[in-house]
Symmetry: D2
Subunit: 403 residues, 4 copies
């Protein structure tokens, strides 16, 4: 096999997502055969000392402190955007227009308008062979990828119910510190865009059906929080100081919404009635640490997933009745998506593997000159659902179409 | 101990609920000390042969074929109503006015108006020492009773989230037969009143908070079903005949609704912001057989319950952090509600024990001359939530106050 | 249907097992069609006041204070023995010789010699139409009965592994009181005969293979315990008094043994190599309340059961690979053993249902003039395993044949 | 912070373990602060083409085809031995005598005699500042490390029971191919050394008690298997050919043994009676893919772990009675061992993280000039248990001391 050509990556941002992406760029070629050879060429951040230390730690070859400069560099083929949502549109558009491929963290943007502009630019760029993808990394969890495969194979029959929960608890303590994720101007929304967006993407992707309408309730439980020095981290059990000056939480703490799905799933004939779904996202479900759960009930079978037991997919096949039961599939067989490149059967993967698989899929698509998935257009559809949720919540939960 | 006076019971209806109630009346005095001694005096049903056979099988001393005649009998102290919802109001009101105590199956009635009349009559009767109770039997599951105790003790802190699911699958097969439960004129509603009512009662009772408003979606997946000879049973894996004449399903198959709770829970000071909740009831969740689930998240802890593992309550205590985790309490200790009268630790109870405990609580209250719980007034509150759900669903999911 | 003839029962003993048996005799005819109609005719116990109070509570028509007198009564058809093991042989033999059917609690006796005499007498009695059964009630748990059916149907293929644990924790507290179960002269052995016997019977019955040899370790962790007034109960969280006078524990607290099974299972051809098994019984496994667990691995599939989730059987079918997984069968379908006579799908049973099913099987066999199962001969085989375990443990764990 | 000095690694072997170790050497410095900077300097294997391809894929800078040559190289500081057990002693001893640190895969050797020689050499080398460690990587699973911490803190009280299972199923199919792991001359033993050794090490390490004696049964279910071209892999769902020539399996397929532990655990006072334990290892437990399970019951609490849910530790604290229950600790908090260097709470780790943590602990110890743990002496103790198991099994399960 000839040595693949390099794919020189420039990444913006180096917090939680930056660390996950760095690991993925470094690890993917060690376990998968890729058509291009990723290089950790340049890391970009505003703080010079910070970005230098991060580059050394995370293994990047050079640094930049201005993302515009990064985009101008000739030795960069792809821009990986790991910053808060308010910066996505500007960076992504500039990068695509400069001929760089783009991987952009989710949610795609902080508004439908931004997402629409990004999608338009991405579509034009793709026509020139410059590709973009949005980082809905949960799609790359083997158990969820297997779920999609099983629905697409018709093993669930007609889909009737979707229930999607994304439950965390790191804000339960009312003295947990203020972060950028609680500032609407930075994050666009709260739990809705941060984790609810993952649920929406996963539910649409697994079922092959789009959400067409919503009825929603948003709630904020804690309206002020102590300001900490560093507002960048995710939070966790940080030092909290009840007497510190307080910042105002401007986003939702919890999002609950009912939805309907389009009648055209994988079978594409539009004769299915379309499923109903219920979604809940919160960071106040004490004891639930990262419970990204998805359950799908069809006319022939059901699937259930919980990211807290991420290597497992539960499957119920009604044909096995009366001895049917939810089957705990330990998704570690070589036949399962992504798994064959890792360890022998029974040796589970972890959180970061989703990012490695994301790199694999992205690089494979770029190498083949094909549009990676999820495209910005796919991410725009998620953005429209997020927007409809906010509209419905602001209008007494009135049913709101997604468009 | 002096022998307790008899409490002579007349029961109307002898299908699923009739069998459960018969067992409860017979079993309660064998395991619990009761102030009155229940007697299975008379069983009432319209079909003479049917009621005679049932009385012999279930152990009742005599039969009636007209419930009015049953109420007239001098040797009956309590009327136990196990018929479909369209008959509850008439029977219960007549019985109370005749001076008989009443145990009435849920939902209390098929409309708020009926439930209001029943509640009024019940209030008057109670003033005369004639008591009534509605059969929300899930309250008597030891794990749910323990849940309520723990919330009331403040171990969860301020309640923020409730998620209540009641998932069954016995209608997933579109050729499962028509039953009275799918006929709105008999049952009042579908999954909503049949199983959703249990979730509503349990959520309000465990949290000590009433639901104040809802936004709802109702859905019917299968609109016609084969008519079977016997429309009385619950269903199950009965003979289904795709070519049989078909009846029209006039009720909801699935109910999804978001709610808000009143800010005054057990602490009663009205300063709590009130929880948000999400409810889902369906008989189309393949693989979920009787998954009556309730999860409550507070500021100090969380509780989770699933009737498919009915002897277990999961409890998360944030104070145990960082080694906190959902604690699988096997609710079989003598200190747990109802449990001490049964078997040694670790020997679980079954579905019908809830009905036995219901008899215990009812007879204990009557013996003490006190209003049993849940009263018809409590059941009316559930009925109002059901009604608000139907209103919201018919008005584009618009937020609808419960009143 | 003609009214069945009565089957008049006289029961000896009225502690834990007596309450369970009383409930079973009373309940069985209400849910199952029996060829004979059980009557709770007489209860026998040495203490006159005690037995009178128990009879009133448990619903027996008359009392005796001498089991010999009970056996002499003409109005008794069956003797139900619920006393400690040291009395089984004498009562059972006398009853059988007096022409009474016998239900005897397990373990059958406190020694192989006693069990052999009982078996001989039982064999002679059966020839005269007088039947006997040993109370291995766990066989009547629907999930275990389903397990046996699945093995017998060949769905597991050749059996290779059995792992059986019976874990309780009620002696973990070293000040838990002394009971008759800790006195070898009464109970014969400790955890071994009390709960290990259940595991042995269940493993042999489910696999259709007998244990042919053992290697064992027995251990006693606490050698003296406070004497309580009442030594009859099972224990639980009773009042314990560290300063009370102490009695000597003369039985094992834990039993661990490896076994081999006979090569002739349900296929009966003796060409199977025979499975290996590992057994563990203890009352010191803190947190395990009644974890009677059985797992069987065959060449085609596996089964796993835990009595703490008694309505569930887990089944793994290798033919479903690569999407195979342990299937959580909720054993509440009408097609499952015993279940169709109870509640709709999804409504679980409890501990005492095993005793009701035991009555059903016993009365059905007597009515048909057939030997009930497990016979005393079956129970003798269990006794021989218990004896081999004790022999091996006393001889440095040396491999010991069962014979 | 000054740049740490390099630690130049030479690794022998590049199959399953080689891939895991390569990932660990590359990843550890990206997430942890290490006193030395690991370099993937040279990879060694006998087949020139194979080792070159592997080095390119796994990221090693150079190759060797003779391990002696590797050891001679001046630019190598540490030898990492990932070959079958029959080669460990020779390579490790040569490396240590040449002044190279050594990381040696488990089991340490194929015999006690070899392990004793290795231990002696390792002791001498340590005196010269040349260190060695054996690769019992399961110690580095955060949940097991937390288990050890909790036992050491006394939260379980006096240890009474250990039950350790290591269940896999990849040999259940009797046509699964022959591998070196089934050839006693290469692997030393079968399931016993391959996976049972992990259970023994984990049990001793978590409890702080050594095993002092055993009684054992070994079994081989399938005696001949088809020869495949490549005998190096672990197996899995490879192509199996029932008609292929067959090789003879010369190792155990299943190992079952009872043990006793030394009375001196973490408290070290020797007054504890010592726990009893039961161990089972097999590759024929259909449906169990990598169920490395450990349960420990003490006088105050219990712990349970299953590698199939590797981010969870279950803990029972009797002090919480009557509301005690096994607490599902999701071991993803920053306070938990190793976890703080990875992702936010709730984002689980995978199989390979244990190897990364192993590198962290090894490099940290070398940097500090301290003996890493587990030392060869610790691994020798495991080897002695393995040997005692084989002796007992060959002598009718007779109790056999470990020495």
């Amino acid at each position: 096999m000839a040595t693949p050509k390099p794919l020189r990556v420039g990444m913006v941002g180096y917090a939680f997502m930056g660390a996950a992406h760095s690991h993925a760029w470094r690890t993917a070629p060690r376990f998968f055969d890729l058509p291009l050879d990723p290089r950790l060429t340049a890391l970009c951040g505003r703080n010079d000392d910070g970005v230098r230390a991060a580059a050394a730690k995370l293994g990047w070859d050079s640094v930049e402190t201005d993302w515009r400069r990064l985009i101008e560099r000739d030795d960069i083929d792809l821009i990986d955007i790991c910053t808060p949502g308010d910066t996505h549109a500007e960076i992504a558009i500039a990068a695509l227009e400069a001929g760089k491929h783009v991987l952009c963290e989710k949610p795609l943007a902080n508004s439908v308008a931004e997402a629409e502009r990004m999608t338009e630019v991405a579509r034009d760029a793709a026509a020139r062979g410059v590709f973009s993808m949005c980082g809905f990394s949960y799609r790359r969890t083997p158990a969820l990828a297997l779920a999609r495969r099983m629905v697409a194979e018709g093993r669930l029959g007609q889909i009737r119910h979707v229930r999607a929960q994304y439950l965390q608890d790191w804000l339960s303590d009312e003295n947990a510190p203020m972060t950028w994720r609680l500032d609407k101007s930075k994050s666009g929304s709260g739990t809705l865009g941060d984790i609810g967006a993952h649920s929406i993407d996963a539910a649409q992707w697994v079922t092959g059906q789009n959400i067409t309408g919503v009825s929603a309730v948003l709630e904020t439980f804690v309206h002020e929080r102590p300001l900490a020095g560093n507002l960048v981290g995710l939070g966790g059990h940080g030092d909290t100081d009840a007497d510190a000056p307080r910042g105002t939480v401007t986003v939702d703490d919890a999002a609950i919404f009912s939805v309907r799905f389009s009648p055209d799933g994988f079978d594409g004939d539009g004769t299915s009635p379309g499923a109903v779904g219920v979604f809940e996202s919160t960071r106040y479900a004490l004891g639930r640490k990262n419970a990204m759960r998805l359950e799908v009930n069809g006319s022939l079978g059901s699937l259930a997933f919980d990211f807290e037991d991420m290597n497992v997919l539960s499957f119920y096949d009604a044909a096995e009745s009366p001895d049917a039961g939810f089957r705990r599939i330990f998704v570690t067989e070589p036949e399962h998506p992504y798994v064959g490149n890792w360890w022998p059967t029974g040796h589970g993967l972890g959180y970061e593997h989703g990012f490695t698989h994301q790199v694999v899929d992205l690089v494979t698509a770029i190498g083949a000159g094909e549009q990676p998935s999820p495209s910005f257009a796919d991410a725009l559809q998620v953005q429209r659902v997020l927007s409809a949720v906010e509209t419905s919540a602001s209008e007494e939960s009135r049913w709101t179409k997604v468009n």
